[in-house]
Structures are given as C-alpha cells and as structure tokens.
C-alpha cells in the first residue's frame, strides 16, 4: 500500500484542482460578463454568481471535459435568468451605456474600439454572445455551440449576422443616428442591412438547465 504522502502527490485534491481552474478562468469570465451586461457592477455580480454556482455544482463537472465551455455555459444561463428578472439589462439607454463603458477609446486598424463597444451593446444578446465567444474569447464554432447549446450552423449564422449588424451600426446611417429600434431605424444605406438583421432577432433565447446541484 502506498504511503499517504505519495497518494496525495499522485491524486491531487479535486476541489483544489477545480479551484485552480476557476481562478485561471476568472479574467475571461469577467470579460465575457462585461460584454454581456451593460453595467460593470452587474457584470461582476454575474461573474461572482457564476463562480459560486459552479463551485456548488463542481461534482457534476467531468474532469477532462471542456472546463471553459462548462463555466461559460453556467454564466450564460445565469445571465438569461437574470435578464428575465431585470429589465435594466435589456433596456437600451445610450446615456447609461456611455457612462458605464470602461474600455478606453483606442484605434484598431481605423475602427475605434469604443465605437465597437457601444455598437455591441445595441445588438441582440444572441448575436452579442456569439461575437464575444468567438471574436473576443477566440472559441471555435464547436466550443461556442457547446456553450450556447445550439448547432454549429446556428453559431455561424448568428456570427455572420452579428458582424453585419455591428459593422452597420459602426458605419451608421448618413446622419450618424443609430437605429434604436425597428420602428425608429432609418432604412437607407447600411441601415438596410441593420434593419434586416434586427428583424431577425429571436424573441426568446434558448435556455439550458443549470446543473441541479448548482442552485
């Protein structure tokens, strides 16, 4: 029989392993939350809720499976649960958006990052999340599909529409007024693309059940 110390060395504490993986992922989780929510404090609340739910549900995580996808899925589920309860997260308030955006203005190959951040918050959540998962977190289509709980084709479709809408919002109509709603939007130039995309917005996002032990 192996000594206890050797056993500990070869079989590290699974709780400690889980904790270490969680810590390593926190920066990306906070960034994903910031992209999903319009308010910095809400984003950090979401990230903290996700931490604790994941910890409570750690027994349901299969070691060796995609930890990042599992964590992002929990965050996404929690986001949509909160979204239903809190209309502040869905109401477009450009003045608030201007105040809470924390990314310093910077140029990225001719595109102002601040403009991208503002436009991103005008997209439907389903397009925004795909852009964040693939564009910001560099996930594969497959991993993003696992997080969202949909087919890869759906991910590709939402990504394409999201990029189109984002580009249209950044370019903007001729007078610089962004289409705030399908009723208010201008239908001219790039606005036509944006209008078509906004018409495609799904009303009710798919929801995946949280692990039972997470609640």
């Amino acid at each position: 029989m192996a000594p206890a110390s050797a056993s500990t060395a070869t079989n590290p504490d699974p709780d400690k392993l889980f904790r270490d993986q969680l810590v390593a992922l926190l920066p990306s989780l906070r960034a994903f939350a910031r992209g999903l929510c319009r308010h910095r404090d809400m984003a950090d609340d979401l990230a903290q809720d996700t931490m604790m739910r994941a910890w409570a549900a750690r027994a349901s995580y299969t070691e060796g499976s995609n930890f990042r996808a599992w964590m992002f899925m929990i965050m996404r589920n929690q986001f949509y649960t909160t979204l239903r309860k809190n209309s502040r997260m869905t109401t477009l308030d450009p003045e608030v958006a201007e105040r809470v955006l924390v990314v310093a203005p910077a140029q990225q190959d001719g595109i102002n990052v601040d403009d991208v951040a503002k436009a991103l918050q005008r997209l439907p959540a389903q397009q925004r999340e795909v852009l964040l998962l693939i564009g910001a977190n560099e996930m594969s289509y497959e991993e993003a599909a696992e997080v969202i709980g949909c087919a890869m084709g759906t991910v590709k479709s939402r990504l394409a529409r999201g990029r189109l809408a984002l580009a249209a919002l950044i370019d903007g109509p001729a007078d610089g007024v962004l289409p705030a709603s399908p009723q208010q939007r201008r239908v001219d130039g790039h606005g036509q693309n944006a209008a078509r995309v906004f018409d495609d917005v799904l009303r009710e996002p798919p929801h995946r059940t949280m692990p039972a032990s997470a609640g």
Binding site: D13, D15, K16, R19, Q21, L22, V23, A24, L26, P27, S28, R30, A31, F32, R34, G35, D44, A47, Q48, M51, M52, W55, G64, S65, N66, F67, R68, V102, V103, A104, A106, Q108, D109, G110, I111, V113, V116, A117, L120, L131, L132, I134, G135, A136, N137, E138, M139, S140, Y141, E142, E143, L159, R163, L166, A167, I170
Partner: protein, 57 residues
C-alpha cells in the same frame, strides 16, 4: 482541464478583421484588470471550505 488550442476558424474570424481585433482588445482590457476584492473574498471562502473538508477527513 482541457486546454483549448487555437481554433481553426480563428484565421477566418480574426485575420484582417478589425472588428474581431477590437473585440479581442476589449476582452483583454477587462481580463488584465486586477481582480476586485469581492472576488478575492469568494476565493477565500472556497479555500476555507477546502481546508475544512481536508480537516474533517
């Protein structure tokens, strides 16, 4: 933990796409922030639970 390698679609998504580059820059800006105290407190709670569980065994 399964370490995700660079996905095949990244060249397609990022390559030459200033929007994707801006999204990545936004992500990196938040990810590089220092963790707020609330997060550190939660991690302390987790550490306490791990320690207590070990002690119980």
């Amino acid at each position: 933990m399964a370490k995700a390698s660079k996905p095949e679609n990244q060249d397609e998504v990022i390559g030459g796409d200033p929007i994707a580059a801006a999204l990545k820059q936004m992500h990196d800006a938040v990810a590089s922030e220092e963790l707020p105290d609330d997060f550190l407190r939660l991690l302390d709670e987790i550490d306490t639970k791990i320690t207590a569980k070990k002690a119980a065994h």
